[in-house]
Structures are given as C-alpha cells and as structure tokens.
Symmetry: D2
Subunit: 365 residues, 4 copies
C-alpha cells in the first residue's frame, strides 16, 4: 500500500508535486454539518507560507485554498472534502542544475532507488511543499475539534544551541505568534532569530525543536494496544519532513528517573479526576486521561545549503552540487502550524474512533 | 477501529489477557513456504520471559509457543498463523487488593474511563504480558527477514544515570546477550546491574533506553508521505508499554546541529552507493538508503512500586495502594527482544509493501 | 494484504485448518459491556454443525466454542474477543488418497498455483469448516444488534428444481427452523428433502438458494460511494464457500422492469417515513432506509461427489478421483446460519461506522 | 470510515459533486514507470459520456480528464495520481423544483436521514456523475493490466424483455461497440434500441444486464477467505449506481444444477492446466484459475421519470415530483465502461496483492 493516506475514520490523502498545477488533499470521513470557516483555513496557510519573514525562504506561494467538493453553503455535507492549492511560483529553472546528482541528505537517491526516476525539479513528493496540504486538512480538523473544546498549540522551543528550558506551563503561550521564530519567550526568541540570521549568512542551516500541547482532550481517546494515542501522534510527527525524534510527557528524561519520582498521583477535583503531576503527558496506557497532552518534536537542519557540496550522480560518478535556490535556513518556525495540523488530524481521528465505540457502550450500561 | 492489529501486508493481531487461558496472536500475510524454526521462536520467548535473572520480575511463565494454524510440515502455508501462549502463573490473588483503586501512572483509570470497567486482576490488555505475543510474531518476521539478509539487534544503552555513550559502531554487540542487563559494555553493564539492585531494594523502579540497529535493509523500503519507514518504526516502538520517546539517526541531537555538519555525503563503493557519515540513520525522505538503520527508545520507570502510594478509587475517594506483587525494577533488559520484534514487524511489512510495487515497476523498465 | 479479516470497525479475523488443533476467530472492535450469552452462541453453532440430520454430512464435530479473551464476568471488555473451536473429528485418512490430484471444481489447483503446496488433507482454509468461525463471530454480532432491535433471519428458498416462489412477506418464517431443509413452506420443504435424498443416493449433489431478511435496521447505515450497505452485504455473501450470485430487493428481475413499475413511493406513517412497495430492498443510494432489507444468495452444487471423476495431478498426468468421504449432498440447509452470520457482521460494522459520524453530526445541528 | 476509497494496494478515492467545479479521483499505489496514454483515458471517458447517442441523456459534459499529479513526462512516478474532470454543464435550475421533496427510489431520503441535509441540486455524491471518476481511474488500471496481458470487456446482454441468451463464447464481441446499445448481437441490439425509444417516449425507463469478461488473468489472484476475487468483483459491481445483482460463472443457474453437471474437469494442454468446461467462471476457492472470468450485473430502471409522481417532502407532507430534466431512459449502454472500469480496479489491486506475496514465495522454493 502506498502511504499517502493518514487516519482511519478522519482520513486525509494528500497529492501533488511542486511541478504540477496544484497540490492538495481529500478529507474523507469528516462529519456532516460542520461549519467551514474559510478565513480560518487561510490564516493557517499563511502561518506556514514561505516568504512570511526574513528568516524563512523567500519563495513566494500565495497558498490560496480552494474547496472543490464536500462543502455546501458553508457546511460539510459528509462527502469527501477536496482542497486544492495552486502552484504559482514553480520556477523549475532553479533546480535544473541538479538534474542527475544526488543532493546529500535529501531524498533524491532513495526516490531514485525506489521509483526508478530522478525528479529533476527539486522535490516531487519529498518537497516540504506537500505539507501545505497537511496544514489545510489540519485546519478542518481543528474546526471539528473546537466543537468539542479541544485546542492545539505548538511553539519553537529550540533553535540550534538556543533552548527554551521552561516547561510550557510556565510560559505565556500567546506570545508565540508575536515573533518571527514562534518562540513564546521574547528574549530567547531574539537570540534564535539572531542565530538564524548568522547561519543564513554563512549559507548554512540549523535544526530545532517544536513543543506541542493539546488541551481539552476528553479521557478515553486512543486504541490499545497498537494504536495508542501517543503512538499515532508519534507517527504523525515523524512523517513530517526533517523530523528525527518524538517524545511525549517526560520523554527521554524519564529514562533517568525513578518510579517514585515519576508516578503521577490521582486526585479528585469536584467531579473530575486529575493527576497532581503530569509526567504521563496526558496519556496512560495509550489512552488520554483528560490532562494536557504535551510532546516535543526534533527537526534536523535543512539539507539544502548555499554552499557547494561534493556528491555522486546516477552514474555513480563524483560531482559537485552548487549552492543555489531559495531555502529555509531553519525550518522550525514554519513547521509550527504543520505540527499543530498533524496533531489535529490524530485527535480528530481518535475522537471519531472513540465515538464509534462509546455510543454503543453507553447502551449497555 | 479498535487497535489490536499492526501492519498492512505482514499483519499481526494480538489478543488475550493474563486472566484468560492464553494470550497469542494471528499473523496474516506471511508468504507461503517459509521454514518455521520453532526452536528459534522459543529462544526469543526466553529472552523476554520473566524470572530469567535476579534483576527482573520473579513471576514464572513458561511461555511455550504453540502453533495452532498456518504451518504444515514445518513451513508456512500462506494461511493465517496462530500462535498461542498459555497463561500458567496467573495468581489473581496478588492483585485482588487493588480492585477499585486507580494505581498511579497505570492504565487503570483510562481503561475505566474508556471501557467502563475496572479489571480487578492487574492488567488485562494494558499488562506487559501482551508483549509476549509480539515477541512470538516478531520471531516469525525475523525468520522471513533472514531470507533477505536483514538482521535486527537491540541492546540497553541507558539505565537511570548509567549511560553507554559510545555509538553502536564502536561496540562489540555480541557482548550484549552475555550479561543480565543486555548492555554490550561489560563495565557499564555491571554498574547498571548494581544500580537496579539498589533500586529494587528501595522498592523503587528506574527507566532506561534501548538502542536498536537494523542491518542489511535494502534501499527502497518506506512509503511516502505518511508511512515513512521511520514513522512506522516510531509508532511501533511507541506502542510498547512504558515507551516515552523515539529518535533515529541523529535524533534530538540534530536540533543543535548545522546542516554543514549533518549532511551525509554520498560515495560510490564499487557497485554500491553509500554515505560517508550516517546521521540520516539509514533513512532519507522516509525510505531506506541501504545504510544501517539505528534508533533509540526511551522507557519510563515501571509504575508499580513496592511502596504504599496514595491514590483515589472509582468512587473518587482517597485510598492507599499497597506495594505488593512481583514486578520488574527496570523493564529495559526484558524489553530488548520486544524492541527487536516490533522492528522486525515493521521491516517485514515494508518489505512486502515494496515488493508489491517493485515487481510491477520492473516490468516497465 | 492477505484476506482473512472482515469489517472495518467490527472486525473479524478467522484462522485455522481442519488438520490443526482448533479453528477460531478474533473479533476486534466489539463495544465493551455487551452481555455475552454463551448458550446463544452455542445454539447458532449447532445450526451449522455437520451430522444434525439425515440430509447433511455425517462428519461429527462437537463445535464447542470456547472464549479465550475479551470477556470478563459475562460481558465484553473492549479487548479482542477470541473464540476457539476444537477440531475433534479430523480423520485425515479419509483424504489421503487425494494427495496430489486436483479435485474438480475444488480449490486444490488454485491454492497450489498461489501458495505452492497441495494440502493433502481435505481443504485447509478452503474447507467449509472455516465457516464455523464465522457463525461464532456472527453470533456475537447478533447479540450486539439485538440491543438495537435489529434481527436477521435466513431460510432456504430453492433446492435444485424446487423453488419457493412466494415472497418472504407471505410466509410464516417461524416454520423455517422446523424442518431439516430450513424452508418455511412445509410442503415444498418435503419435496426438497425428498430430492436431496434422491441426489445423495446417486452419489451426486445439488445447488440451492438462500433468502435473507434484516429487520429493524435504522435509516442511515451504508457509506457511499464504495462501501454501500448492499455492496458490503454482497461481498460478505460471495465470500461464503460455493456462493455464485447475490441480489437484493428486486435483484435480477429488475432488469426487465420499467421505472414506473419499480419506483417505491414514499409515504408518512405517523412520525415514520416508509415506502409503499419495497423493490429497493430497504437500501437506496447504498444507505438503509428503514424498510426490511432482503436478499438472495445462490449456491452451486457441492463439488465432492461419491463417484469417480477423471482429473489431473500436480505432474499434469491424468488420474481418477475416487468418490469417498462424508460430504453434504446439498449445502444450503447448513449454510442458513452462515448467511445470517455474515449479514450480522456487515450490519454490526456499518452500525458502528454510522455511529462514529452521527454522534458528531448531532453536535452541529 | 467513510466509503469513498476502493482497493487495498491499487487504491482509488473519488470526490466531487455535480454542483462543484470538478469531480475526480486520486489513485494511490500505481507502480512507477507506467506509460500513461492520455488518449486512451479520454476514449474511455467518451464511452461513458452523456449525449453520445439518441438513447442516452442529452446532458452535455465534455469530460476532459486533466492529470494534476503523479505523472511526469508521460510516465507514472509512484506518487498519487490525481485526475480532475471539470463540471461544464451544471444547470442547477433543472433541479431547483425538487428541493425538499424525496424523489421515489432515489437517495434523497437516505442522504437526508444520514447526513441531515437535502442536496437541492440533483444528486451530489449519489449522482451517476461520480462514475466518470471511476472510468478515469479504471482506464489507468487497464493500462497497467495490459502490461500483464489482461484484457477486460463488457457488453449489454439484456434490456427489459430483450435478452441475449447466447454465452459470450459464441458471440463476436468486437461488434459490441458498433451500436448505440453496446450489444454484440446486431439483431437483438436493434430490438433493444427500439424498445428504449419506446420507453423514452412514454417518459419511462427500463433496466438491463451487463455481462463482463476478464481474459488473460493469471492463476493465483484472490485472497481467501474474505477477499476472494469474485467477492471483491461483486462488491465493485454492487457499488455502481442502480446495480441490484451480481453473479459469476454459472451464477444463479447453478442452484438448479447437479454436481455431476457442474464440475469442471481439469485437463493439461501442453504446459498449461485448464478446465474442459468453465462453470466456475475462472475462479475456484476465490482464486483465479487462469480461465476466462465472466460475470453478469443487473441494473434496475433509472428512478427519474418524465412523469409526475406523488411523494412526500422533508416535512412529511404529500407533494408531487414533476417529471423534468434530462435523464437516461436506460442506463446500461453507458454503464458498460463503468463495469469494465470497476473490474479493472479489482484485478489491478489483486495483481499487486498477489505480487507482494509471490515474489516472497519464490525466494523460499
């Protein structure tokens, strides 16, 4: 099975390459009657769009989402929702010089090995352009989740050596969208931006980390034993270009902890069951427990450099990749809405999966 | 969709609770004609089995795998393969005292919230007992992968504060199975074992990290854009009990790196294309590139302590969980074969998925 | 993907061959809290069991269903439900003489071509023995459907030349289970039974038709455009051994009808919307409309004859199949509970699928 | 799970309503390197197009297929293939008068019951317009199957009372496309055409039957026990608008046959294994045996009449549907390419599914 579909009940298939007329997606399984706020979708697209600030790629894509099916008079009909985004700024000439060389740490070689061809125009499906379709689909998922009081937010918590150590609970997250790097600590944000400028001047790139939080998730989402909520979240994040790692709750730090430190004590608050600490990250046994879900996603530095790099070509002969084109020196600021979108797709899917069984459960009790 | 099935073409469904007569699994999609080495399966079971050394739980389960279907005269037939493992040492009385209290950082509360009942006998599907079925299925996957020259090995690289910093390429991995903690560095292994003994004496538990390596994977496995090879590996690992994080290749460390450091240069070695470094971890654009695949998996400390802990019960009233029962002070030594099994399931599945398309591809060229 | 799983949300995987210790199934996705009436399951098994009357095969199988997982104190837990049925009467010697010859109109040749082996002991997965697992799973589905007031009944409407022409609405269906052939018209039933005896005496077999009815299905089940309710019903029926055709509502007869004859006029009965006629068979546009769903399933004559038949073997040499063994002269009486079981699996699955979306829909209105 | 996706490995998702800008489909899982003959795709579209002759609807749709993704320089790339077909002749005013009345034997009521809205403009997803996307996808599948020597042809074998009794083996099938009704017997074709004209003059409609043949299918396609080749073919056909029945090989007629008549004797022809007769319809035990696969599909009369019909509306009040609009008096001539397309999708999918396992099988022997 080819792998361009994500989700079981809320199910998204993305399509399109940068050299075609459009990219886009189909959402199959969105409940009928949901009000589609097109302005909201568009605002999400703008958050991911290239050229939005000085620290991201200067390619220009208007990224206007056009709804081709599944919405009638502003509401979903239950039919597949098709979202198209035209490719306006293709500029294939920028990539022509690459033609048969394998760019280091890109997907050129593996696509060639798998599919038997070398996309000469810089990307095809491995291009981050594909993530625009994810943001569009994720915006629809967010609209659905809002109906249930579930909100998702992500922010940049590391760029190269600059790390935001404070936990999300001690931050004013409303500040995240007030600066170019989407870091909610203004002082660290400034350092990150400065660092990105330096890196770009050297023709280099740098990695980073994004932290995500899901609030308002009811208890009961997640399907043991394989489709645990955090397992599907992890897969969703790892499917984003350049992601190298995922952790939730206490994450890798838990490896050094003792059980007596790590256990989250249950308490009752009125009618609600909560935990005093939240090392579990809102998920226990693969199922949401009603506390905040939080996670971290590691991004490697972008592989395209504005420097010459040695490599080989399809004939296995040595050659040089010249550093040209318009690329992001650091991908994480633009990846924030992508992380949110993928999280929204996972939660929307598990919400419907839980509802299929819960409504039946209730009958028997 | 309930979540007890893993894989698309090589497809495993596990079933069973500790309080029933058996646990087990069905493998649907294993090619016909594969020789099934039952001794090998059994040896894998023994690696996961409780009671195998002083640093793991002293529960006793013989964990004999019995083949109920799909194998005839020692070879797979193409029919579903059913593997059953009897529950010999159920001892429900050990768990009776728990009945309606939610054990901290266990799945008691979330299962209750989701399914409307409280398993009074310690585990049901959230028990690590379920992973025995994974090891059995993974052993079959390993036998299939061997036919293609693919080998998988995992080892313990961290227990609490004791970290094996050396990369796997500088270790003698054959030493991993020579000590109780499955760490290939004998000196560090000794410290880890000592530490686990200390932790146990205090009635406490500790987390750890397992490193996994997949060797001999041909280029071309992994299905963009969502079913990237590392995304499915990540999901597989995160679906194991107590796992809190996953990273592959350069992982979280890549967030602090520059592109000029991180890019892996391609070189030709005879007929083969390789990379000089392997920060990519054997996967580029979600597709294997023929280099070693390596990854790390973080485990939290086991939630069951031999200490009393305050909690609440289903009536939301405060109560005390007493520390009793037989549990692992550190799960990682026994989780090594589980990590290997899940990796084997992912690679076997992607191998078949790639073959479906490659054999067709070859026709057209 | 191997094909031993049926359903999307209420999902059944069957396993096992007649030469192994057991056959059985796993049901994944049954809601928690459903009371499991084991006596009911067993009565369904008895309806399918060989040896129940003089007109069916005299093989003896006790067909006791044992629950291995997913049920606790008489209720489903939400975990996978495993049902095992021991093989008691294997008698492999009956089949030994077949070993390398391809029995005419059996699956011997196609299994050999597909899997590369020739099951020497009468069937493996192609044996109708596999359908015992379907009946067990279907019994659980029926218990679920009962909670929603949905009932399924099937009966024999043709055996060879003997055809029950009356529509089901003019029959007393409670008579169906009062005779060996499961035909609700006692006079025709007698003719059918007499005919089957004649056929058996000649060492021959005969085909038949089963009619099925689903009552109480609420409007809204079925997922356009591919997973139409009748499309999934059709697939379910066609997956039963020996089935050659499926029709619902007006079926093949509609090909000769005019639209002005065939259209079902809508009427309001109190708060309910109904149709005056029901050529639609309770399904319009692939979605149930609340009227009775009815369908017919054609079975070919059993391929095993008590006569010698010429054939070839795996070496492509001519040989003779001798007529021996114990087989059904007519499969339809025993296939009635199988038809019901498969219908129950389809409706249970679509009920959960509809619930996933409906509960969300309701929020928005 | 919503139901707009068909297939496991060769996987098609259709989208779009007649009132949007386009309809179309995504094919995910087509092998890379396949030459895409756009003229062939277009010719298939023309075969289904309205307005092609006097006996079909006079709506006009150019039905030009535009490839949006997945094809580069005339070959598939392995990425999802997106095909769009613009809606040129929407004319919503034709349908305005229907708005809140339920047209008899249409999907108006069931869509309203399921999704909570009443598409006022003639159909949405339940419109036969959706099948244009199936024909486009099926054309790609046919191009793939041709590489393996597999050809699919369908023709009209019944229109109302006019039945083509001869088996396909005694017909000159090349004549099917030489007349408006697509019946390969010119004399009967003339009667059918004449009958359709009569029916249309009366403002009525009539049903029919299509026979399909798949030639060149290798042995081994089909996945027991649920995804039998004929079960998936049956589902595919039943998912087409207006289909009420499916049979393959001897079909419903087998119910009246004896085993001694029905069994197909195996013979060796050189290196090939064949059967002397083919009541099995090319499939045994759910797996292709290398003989021709043939089947019949029953279509009810179109529900839209050019006559007034009584009905009720969403308020459950009686009302009259006026007979207006442009519709087919008989759907079967235009449904021939749809039947072929769905058959092609099924065989392409099973071809890839078989290859996933066969290439592995071959390793072990």
């Amino acid at each position: 099975m080819a792998g361009n579909t994500f989700g079981v009940l809320f199910r998204v298939t993305t399509f399109g390459e940068s050299h075609g007329p459009s990219i886009g997606c189909i959402i199959d399984g969105c409940p009928a009657g949901l009000v589609i706020d097109e302005d909201f979708i568009q605002r999400e697209m703008i958050r991911r769009r290239p050229g939005q600030s000085a620290i991201v790629t200067q390619r220009r894509e208007a990224d206007i989402v056009r709804i081709y099916s599944g919405v009638f008079e502003g509401r979903t009909t239950g039919a597949p929702i098709t979202l198209l985004i035209a490719n306006e700024d293709q500029r294939p000439r920028d990539y022509e010089h690459l033609s048969d060389a394998f760019r280091p740490s890109h997907a050129d070689y593996t696509y060639w090995a798998k599919y038997g061809h070398r996309d000469p125009r810089g990307g095809g499906r491995s291009s981050a352009r594909e993530t625009a379709a994810r943001v569009a689909a994720g915006a629809v998922a967010k609209l659905l989740l809002r109906q249930y009081g579930i909100e998702i937010q992500a922010y940049v918590s590391q760029v190269g050596p600059w790390i935001l150590e404070k936990p999300y609970t001690e931050l004013n997250l409303s500040l995240a969208e007030t600066n170019e790097v989407r870091c909610p600590d203004p002082a660290i944000a400034e350092q990150m931006i400065h660092f990105i400028h330096q890196v770009r001047e050297r023709g280099d790139t740098v990695g980073g980390v994004i932290t995500g939080i899901i609030r308002g998730c009811p208890p009961g989402l997640g399907e043991p034993v394989f489709d645990k909520l955090h397992a599907d979240l992890g897969k969703a994040m790892l499917s984003i270009n350049a992601v190298k790692g995922f952790e939730y709750g206490s994450g890798f730090a838990s490896a050094a902890m003792l059980g007596s430190q790590h256990n989250d004590a249950f308490i009752a608050e009125g009618d609600q069951i909560r935990t005093q600490t939240n090392y579990s990250g809102g998920i226990q046994g693969g199922i949401s427990n009603g506390m905040d879900i939080y996670f971290r996603v590691a991004f490697k530095p972008v592989a395209t450099l504005l420097r010459d790099q040695p490599t080989i070509n399809t004939a296995k002969a040595p050659t040089i990749i010249q550093g040209r084109g318009r690329h992001d020196p650091c991908v994480v600021p633009r990846a924030v809405p992508i992380v949110e979108a993928m999280a929204a797709l996972v939660v929307a899917d598990h919400l419907l999966r839980a509802k299929a069984l819960q409504s039946a459960n209730s009958l028997h009790r």
